[in-house]
Amino acid sequence: MPISADVFTATARGKRSGEGPSKVQLSVRSLSAHYGKRLAIRNVSLDFKPRTVTALIGPSGCGKTTLLRCLNRIHEVTRGASVSGVVELEGQDIYAPGVDPVAVRRRVGMVFQRPNPFPTMSILDNVVAGLRLVGECRSRGEKLEVAERTLRLAALWDEVKDKLDRSGLSLSGGQQQRLCIARALATEPEVLLMDEPASALDPISTAKIEDLMSTLAERYTIIVVTHNMQQAARVSQETAFMLAGEDGVGELVEFGPTTELFTRPKDRRTEDYITGRFG
């Protein structure tokens, strides 16, 4: 059985979907993030719709990764890092006092830029690592059930079904990344954050992961960072364009439906970027 972390804390029970799909899954308001004294992103506000792929694009260093890492409260793991502003997951502020970041991360999964399977675990154990944390998936039968379901979703099942007990490191880079996607899906998060999930991969693996995003968007809210505009255009329904200002601090420049942003950008800087005039 998948876990459903209904609430962030044991005390405060919040509302959840089930009362029909809400229009906004994740709402970011006036978000700023620091690394020590250095301000990395300033005053970002945008809404992510449920069961939609939203792409975060922009040149290197504009704060895409930083914004993404604020959405599952993993930004604060970096020494000296801090966040201000509001991030609401289905109406609940994940930065409110008393909210347990661990509970947030069970509802907001993440796939990193570089594939990072656990090297000492088998493929099978990698997939169920998140479920083992909450004491589920003890028996091999349960593990296999979860593994088949999530590895199929991640389009990896056929390639690994005969070697589930091998180390995750025995896979190619593209397979490792899909393993990490399966691992993130196993805990049944509502939102899946992906930080340039294909940037380290070959074109065929990239195509597989792009296909995967469309499939996953039927069930999950997906937020994907990419610096590849073609990729953003191919996979997303919504796009946010970020840019670092004169002072090097990242800001949200424009946000809207992908087709609109790419065909009729409202901001001059967006137009410059998508036509390749800089970045």
Partner: protein, 312 residues
């Protein structure tokens, strides 16, 4: 211009470097073989007189010329194994705390302190053991253990203060810094992406350390323990001061014992007969062989464990 386009450069340097590496490697191989030969030659008389029976005999009487190595083998292995069992638990816990949980303001001085402890000469540990730990063992720790667990042969009999348990504890104390300092380096060396992978799945800090960080650092931690065990096996002066120096095999950890290193250090200057000297050198040969076997076994164990995980 007239030179061929793909002529390798730095050839001479490369070859010199390779030779230097070869030379230093072979130097150590020669040293080990030489050491072994010298010990073997020195103990030849004892080996000829007692044969393999020497390994299982447990009488030790230089006056009548009865020599058996078993009590010393027993004492060496038991005290070292207990010491490493304690030191591994304490040392790894300390390393994990320093690397992952302690605030930097505390972690840095503590880590420095631990590295200092590793540099304290063993005779100091021995003195402390003799004058502080042994009396406390006799008056407090020993009786306390015995009142609860005295029915176990392990904790039966009179408590002298000095003995196997005291020696094991002193050895553990001595090797904890080794385990902790090296393990800490390996724990800190685990890549951030491994930690974040676990955190992102909804793991607490503690779960992240246990399930991602410690497993990734396992080869290094294992190496630290092997190194520490080697130190315990060969430790001489501290053990000599607190183990009681009686060549007897006892089930009780409170009873005195003796180790290979201790008996050599204690009796070498008193050894008068050729056979006596040869026997002590034979004990040295045994210690040498035990150390090498333990190291080799540990290495093989580590490789099979790692291969099981990584190449399965």
């Amino acid at each position: 211009m007239g030179e061929p386009a793909f002529r390798p450069r730095y050839r001479v340097g490369d070859r010199l470097f390779a030779w230097a590496l070869n030379l230093s490697t072979w130097f150590y191989v020669a040293l080990i073989v030489g050491l072994f030969t010298v010990l073997l030659a020195g103990s030849w008389l004892a080996i000829k007189s007692f044969g393999l029976h020497f390994l299982v005999a447990s009488s030790w009487d230089p006056v009548t010329g009865h020599f058996g190595a078993l009590p010393f083998i027993f004492g060496t292995i038991v005290s070292s194994v207990i010491a490493i069992a304690i030191a591994a638990v304490v040392g790894i816990a300390a390393a994990a705390y320093l690397a992952e949980f302690a605030p930097p303001l505390i972690a840095r001085p503590l880590a420095f302190l631990i590295e200092l402890l590793a540099a304290v000469p063993s005779v100091v540990y021995g003195l402390w053991g003799l004058f502080v730990l042994a009396p406390v063992m006799r008056s407090a720790i020993g009786p306390a253990i015995q009142s609860k667990l005295g029915w176990l042969p392990l904790f039966s009999g009179p408590i002298y203060g000095v003995g196997m348990l005291t020696a094991s504890l002193i050895l553990a104390l001595m090797i904890v810094p080794t385990v902790a300092a090296i393990s800490r380096d390996f724990i800190e060396g685990v890549a951030v992406d491994q930690r974040e992978a676990m955190l992102a799945l909804g793991a607490t800090t503690w779960e992240t350390v246990r399930r991602a960080v410690l497993p990734a650092a396992r080869p290094g931690i294992f190496g630290a323990c092997v190194l520490a065990l080697g130190r315990a096996l060969g430790e001489t002066i501290a053990t000599t001061m607190v183990i009681g120096n009686r060549p007897a095999i006892s089930a009780s950890l409170f009873a005195p014992g003796y180790t290979l290193a201790s008996v050599i250090a204690n009796e070498f200057t008193e050894a008068t007969t050729q056979v006596y000297i040869s026997t002590l050198i034979g004990l040295g040969l045994l210690l040498f062989v035990i150390s090498i076997v333990v190291n080799a076994a540990a290495r093989i164990l580590m490789h099979t464990v790692l291969r099981n995980v990584e190449e399965r």
